[in-house]
């Protein structure tokens, strides 16, 4: 199953804090 990456880092970090969830932050060289 492909991972649906999100790109709004600040929004994701805020949601993670609100929902007490961890976050995967990917620094890749090319679009997936």
């Amino acid at each position: 199953m492909p991972i649906k990456f999100r790109h709004d880092v600040e929004k994701v970090l805020k949601e993670a804090k609100d929902q007490n969830k961890p976050v995967l932050l990917d620094f890749s060289a090319a679009p997936m």
């Binding site: 790109h7 993670a16 961890p22 995967l24 932050l25 990917d26 620094f27 890749s28 060289a29 679009p31």
Partner: protein, 130 residues
């Protein structure tokens, strides 16, 4: 975020999180603090095992011993050939010991290393418990 997609974001967060090579994947806690890092390409199973290892270490650091042990054992059970599997088996034993304070957990882990992953550095580390 990707270099080609959004170079500005890559630069900003790369500096913030000290990610100066690609690929770099960070596992962050809910406060945005890094708790695990995978740098460089890995084959799929090894990559998945590393991500699972990071998540298990997060539970370990939060003293969630049962959850940590379960997550470490999942790596050994589901991805036994991954490079992270011996490390996961080691920490599964430590997690059980921390949760139970029963040294048998460490002895059993050392015994398991005589049957699996005996050439790994983790087998050496566990040998003191035999």
């Amino acid at each position: 975020m990707h270099v080609k997609d959004d170079a500005a974001a890559f630069k900003k967060y790369g500096e913030q999180y000290n990610a100066h090579w690609t690929p770099t994947v960070l596992e962050l806690d809910s406060n945005g603090e890094e708790f695990y890092r995978v740098e460089g390409f890995l084959p799929l199973d090894d990559f998945l095992a590393q991500l699972m290892l990071g998540r298990a270490h997060m539970d370990f650091k939060q003293a969630k011993w049962a959850e940590a042990e379960k997550r470490f054992r999942e790596i050994v059970d589901q991805l036994p050939k991954a490079e992270a599997a011996p490390e996961a088996m080691y920490w599964a034993g430590v997690s059980r010991y921390k949760g139970t304070q029963d040294a048998t957990a460490l002895k059993e882990t050392a015994k398991s290393f005589t049957q699996r992953y005996k050439d790994s550095s983790w087998a050496k580390k566990a040998s003191i418990w035999a």
